[in-house]
Symmetry: C2
Subunit: 256 residues, 2 copies
């Protein structure tokens, strides 16, 4: 990382540095809050501020005896995002989606840096005894967004332009919920209807009628039903039926 803080000596045709950043969403079933995973920065710039996990793309250049580049190997941006996530938070993320690029001149004080932002959905482990990744912290999304919204003009809460990225990620998550069964990726395999509803409410910032919500979900046919020991019922997403529903059904049936 520190490599890139140096000016690019002797490089006549400048290229921007390229990073990835990732908004990791998790649904905390204990307090029913949608949360994001933030990292406290240990180095400048923005030392001590919270930031999205991320880092520079890895390119391995092999040079011959004359210093000429004879072979280059790079990872894709998606691979970069996954690798950085694993390194910084320990998460092996499956459900990760591209959000967009941020490239405003001056966004990184060190050098010209463009970032490709992602968002990922994980299930927060109910028992999290001591984080692997030091300084990683689950923060309620609404707290972050409110803080950002109420900031004086020109002030920022997170490092770099991560305020903008996290705001955009939330909007995207809301929209994406209309086309994909994203919510289920934030839950354990089986869940109660109430939990599912709380999650939808947390993401969309709306409240739904309990009975209408359940009917809509069940009528869509994408859920398998599992009785529990108690009177309660658990549900599980049936992926085949969901794909079928996407093809034949009215997608707007899942828009609330």
């Amino acid at each position: 990382m520190e490599n890139h803080e140096k000016p690019n000596f002797g490089y006549i045709y400048p290229r921007p540095a390229v990073t990835t950043d990732c908004v990791i969403f998790g649904f905390d079933m204990t307090d029913e809050l949608l949360k994001v995973l933030l990292i406290e920065r240990g180095i400048e710039p923005f030392k001590g501020r919270y930031a999205l996990p991320g880092g520079f793309i890895k390119i391995e250049a092999k040079t011959n005896q004359y210093g000429l580049v004879v072979e280059e190997k790079n990872e894709s941006l998606l691979e970069c995002a996954k690798r950085e996530l694993k390194e910084e938070t320990g998460f092996d993320v499956q459900n990760i989606y591209e959000l967009g690029t941020w490239s405003t001149p001056g966004r990184d004080p060190r050098c010209i840096t463009i970032t490709d932002a992602y968002y990922a959905l994980v299930t927060i482990q109910p028992v999290r005894g001591g984080d692997d990744a030091a300084d990683a912290k689950w923060v309620p999304l609404y707290q972050v967004l409110n803080t950002i919204k109420n900031l004086p003009d020109g002030m920022r809460f997170l490092a770099f332009d991560h305020d903008e990225i996290i705001t955009a990620a939330h909007i995207r998550l809301q929209q994406q919920l209309c086309f994909e069964p994203l919510a289920f990726k934030l839950l354990p395999k089986r869940f109660s209807m109430t939990t599912l509803q709380k999650l939808y409410e947390a993401i969309l910032e709306k409240n739904f009628d309990r009975r209408n919500f359940a009917r809509k979900m069940l009528d869509s046919g994408i859920l398998d039903v599992f009785p529990t020991e108690s009177r309660n019922i658990n549900y599980q997403l049936n992926l085949e039926k969901y794909e079928e529903f996407k093809r034949t059904g009215r997608l707007s049936n899942l828009i609330f």
Copy 2:
């Protein structure tokens, strides 16, 4: 452009080259087809093949007497996309949206290149006597997509990975149509209801009932009505009312 074809001599910490590409959509009212603007490449690689307009991001680096970079100026990726569009096609594009990045290793035979793809919506000028931009060509989208779909495994129609980009752009356009009045940006200010319907049908690849389509559009309240000399009626998007509708109305009312 050719600058970047050289290996980056002596640059110890390699960075990828960064480009933008853009899928320009236009609706041809003469034949009621959704079209995309393609450029025939005049240079290698992929000389003679069609490609999306685009190019490398501009960074101006000032070096001092010792060759150290003392100041860098860059454009944002969006600015880059707009500039390349203007240069290559003559279009001064207003309605342009980010699509995503493509960064698969090896996608550019010259060097490690990642591209940030955009899609733009323009009104095709009814009279286009000779294109400003040589070798720029409006091609029916369905023709391009069909060609791509029916290609033998491993074969490509457009240069680079532009097959994938154009396919993704179409899907995005379809989805975006549910949240934004995108279609109107492909039409002249005033248009007939039939034209609007044909455009929706072209984008979504579905047919609608004429009377139901018109009612849905008119009931949403986002259109202003203008009589013509003949019995026919013309319409025009009312942006204020559309914003109002986005806030208060059910967005799915505009999903077909």
